[in-house]
C-alpha cells in the first residue's frame, strides 16, 4: 500500500477546493492518504476532514506558516508528514514547496502533473507544446495542475490530529504591498479575459475589465500587448515568458495566437476567441470563435452576460 501525503492548498486562509482535486490525484497513486494542513490556527484544518478519500488530517500548527518562507515551511512540514508520495498544488508557491520537500527527502520532484496512469505521470514540456510521460520508482513529490482532476466529494469524515511544529525562518518579510485593484491575478483566477495588440490602445483594456468584473475574472494580456504598451505590466502576461494558466474559461480578445501565447493558455478548459481575422491561429484552439472586431463583439457579450448573470 503506497502512502500518499497531500499538502493542503489554502486560499485566503481557508482550505481551497484544489485540495479536493489533490486527494483525487492521490487516490490514483496509493490507497492511504494523509492531508497535511499548514496552519497557524488548527481550526482551519477541520474542513479538510470532510474530504472523501482522506484517511487522516494532520493540522501542522506553527507560527512559521503566517508568511511563506520556503526553508521554514519545508522543515516544519517535513517534520510532521509521513513518508510517501507528496502531492501539492501547482501554484507558484506550492511548486516551490514541493521542490524543497523533495530535496529535503532526497527524492525527485515532478511538477505540473496533468495525468496519472498507474505509475506513469504526464507533464507538459516546452510550455505545453509537447507532453512528457515519465515512470517513477519509489517515493517522489509531485505538483498537480488545477482543473485537471475532478474534486473529491466533501462526504468524508476522518480524524484531525493537531501537531505543533516549527522551522527556522531564514528570510524576513519587510512589507506586504497589496495589489491596487481588487481584481484577481491571472495565476489565481478561474476565468481570464485577455487582450492583445488588437485592442488598439491600452485604454481599451477597460472594456475587458468591465466584463472581467461581471465574471469575477482576471484580465490578462499577450506578450505583444505587454511589449508594446508600458501601461500593461508583465504581471498580466500570459504565455511562455509570462504566466502559464489553466482556467475553466479563457477569453482571448484581439489575440492572434502566437505559439508563445498558445503555450501559456492552451490547456484552459474552454477557450473563446474574438478576432477580426478569420484566419487567426487562435481559432484553431477555440471552443467558441467569434469573427468580429472587439468593438462589435464586447458590448454584446457584456449585455448578454448581464442578462444571464442577473
Amino acid at each position: 500500500m503506497t502512502e500518499t501525503v497531500v499538502i493542503a492548498e489554502l486560499s485566503k486562509g481557508k482550505i481551497s477546493s484544489t485540495t479536493n482535486e489533490l486527494v483525487t490525484a492521490a487516490s490514483k497513486l496509493g490507497s492511504n492518504c494523509t492531508i497535511v494542513v499548514p496552519c497557524t490556527e488548527s481550526s482551519v484544518a477541520n474542513e479538510a476532514s470532510n474530504i472523501a478519500g482522506a484517511s487522516k488530517v494532520i493540522a501542522a500548527k506553527s507560527d512559521v506558516f503566517a508568511n511563506y518562507d520556503a526553508s521554514a515551511w519545508a522543515e516544519a512540514i517535513d517534520a510532521v508528514a509521513p513518508s510517501g508520495i507528496i502531492i501539492t498544488a501547482a501554484s507558484a508557491q506550492s511548486k516551490d514547496l514541493a521542490a524543497r520537500l523533495a530535496a529535503r527527502r532526497s527524492i525527485s520532484v515532478i511538477q505540473d502533473v496533468i495525468e496519472i496512469e498507474g505509475t506513469t505521470l504526464s507533464t507538459p514540456i516546452y510550455s505545453g507544446k509537447a507532453i512528457q510521460n515519465v515512470s517513477v520508482s519509489g517515493n517522489t513529490a509531485i505538483s498537480v495542475r488545477a482543473n485537471v482532476f475532478a474534486p473529491a466529494d466533501n462526504t468524508g469524515n476522518c480524524e484531525v490530529q493537531v501537531i505543533d511544529t516549527t522551522g527556522n525562518v531564514a528570510t524576513a518579510l519587510k512589507e506586504m504591498v497589496q495589489r491596487a485593484s481588487q481584481r484577481l491575478d491571472v495565476s489565481e483566477a478561474n476565468i481570464i479575459i485577455s487582450g492583445g495588440r488588437g485592442m488598439g490602445t491600452p485604454a481599451n483594456f477597460s472594456h475587458l475589465e468591465e466584463i472581467a468584473d461581471k465574471l469575477g475574472a482576471a484580465v490578462g494580456a499577450s506578450r505583444a500587448a505587454v511589449d508594446t504598451w508600458d501601461e500593461i505590466p508583465h504581471s498580466m502576461q500570459v504565455g511562455q515568458t509570462g504566466k502559464t494558466v489553466n482556467p475553466n474559461l479563457y477569453i482571448a480578445v484581439g489575440i492572434s495566437g502566437a505559439i508563445q501565447h498558445l503555450a501559456g493558455m492552451r490547456s484552459s478548459k474552454y477557450i473563446v476567441a474574438i478576432n477580426k481575422d478569420a484566419d487567426a491561429p487562435i481559432f484553431q484552439h477555440a471552443d467558441y470563435g467569434i469573427v468580429a472586431t472587439w468593438e462589435d463583439a464586447l458590448p454584446v457579450l457584456s449585455s448578454s452576460l448581464s442578462g444571464l448573470l442577473g
Partner: protein, 245 residues
C-alpha cells in the same frame, strides 16, 4: 566581495516549433538559446557584482553544445564560465545533487537562477539546491535592491511581498522591470577566446525514466461564428453547454 554564481540553461528558442520523431521530441533542427528567465538571473548577478564588487561565475550542466550559452553570458561580463559535463536526462534529485556539490565546493555566497527553464517549466532547481545546501531561497523575484543587503520583491497572495534576504541564498528570477544588457563587439571577441572550465560529474542514479514524449491531444474543432452579435450565442453556450457561467 561577493562570490556570485548564476545558473544558465540551454533550451530550444521559445518561438520554435516542437516536433516528435518516433516517441521522443526531435530537437535536431531546433535553434537552441539561453532560457529566457536565465537572462534576468544573469543581469541581476552582474548588477549585484557592480553594487559592491565581487565575481560572477556562470554554471551550466550539459554537453559541449551548451558552451555557446556560456560564451554568450561571458560576452555580457560574467567572469568565469563552468560547464558540468553531462548529457542525457537526469531527474531533479540527481541534477540538483550535482549542482549543489559544485556550489558548495565553489564557496559561493549567492546563487541566481531563472524562475523556471523554458523546456521543463518546473522551477524546481533553485529551491531544491537551496534546500540541499541549507540556504534560504526566494522564488519568482521581480525586483532586487542591493542597498544595505539584499531586498527582493516576490508575488504573494493578493499582492507582492518585499523580503529581506540574508546570505547565503538562492534567488530565482522572474522578468520584472529590469532591462537586460546586450553584448558588444569587444565582449563577444573576448568571449570567443575565453576557456570554458569543463568539470566531470558523477550524478546519483535517476529514479525517474522518460517513457515517451508526445504531441498534446488535438482539440476537437470548435464552433465558429461570424459577426459581433454572435457573442450572445456564445454567452448562452457558455451557460448551457459549458456550464461555466
Amino acid at each position: 566581495m561577493v562570490n556570485i554564481a548564476v545558473l544558465v540553461k540551454q533550451v530550444p528558442d521559445t518561438n520554435s516549433k516542437i516536433q516528435i520523431a518516433g516517441d521522443m521530441v526531435d530537437l535536431s533542427t531546433v535553434k537552441m538559446d539561453i532560457s529566457p528567465y536565465d537572462e534576468f538571473a544573469v543581469e541581476n548577478a552582474l548588477q549585484h557584482k557592480e553594487s559592491g564588487g565581487g565575481t560572477v561565475t556562470a554554471i551550466t550542466l550539459g554537453g559541449a553544445g551548451a558552451d555557446k550559452v556560456l560564451k554568450g553570458v561571458k560576452a555580457l561580463g560574467v567572469d568565469n564560465i563552468v560547464r558540468l559535463d553531462a548529457d542525457g536526462y537526469m531527474d531533479s534529485n540527481s541534477l540538483q545533487s550535482v549542482l549543489a556539490e559544485e556550489i558548495s565546493s565553489g564557496g559561493y555566497d549567492v546563487v541566481y537562477c531563472g524562475k523556471s527553464a523554458a523546456d521543463t517549466g518546473a522551477g524546481s532547481t533553485g529551491p531544491g539546491i537551496a534546500e540541499r545546501l541549507g540556504w534560504s531561497s526566494v522564488s519568482n523575484v521581480t525586483e532586487i535592491s542591493f542597498d544595505g543587503g539584499l531586498t527582493v520583491t516576490s508575488p504573494a497572495e493578493g499582492g507582492n511581498a518585499i523580503i529581506d534576504v540574508s546570505l547565503p541564498a538562492v534567488v530565482s528570477c522572474d522578468k520584472g522591470s529590469i532591462k537586460v544588457r546586450k553584448s558588444n563587439v569587444k565582449g563577444i571577441m573576448m568571449a570567443k577566446r575565453a576557456q570554458v572550465d569543463v568539470k566531470a560529474v558523477s550524478p546519483p542514479a535517476s529514479s525517474v525514466t522518460i517513457v515517451s514524449q508526445v504531441m498534446p491531444p488535438a482539440k476537437p474543432a470548435g464552433k465558429k461564428f461570424e459577426g459581433g452579435d454572435a457573442a450572445q450565442t456564445v454567452a448562452q453556450l457558455l451557460r448551457d453547454e459549458a456550464n461555466i457561467i
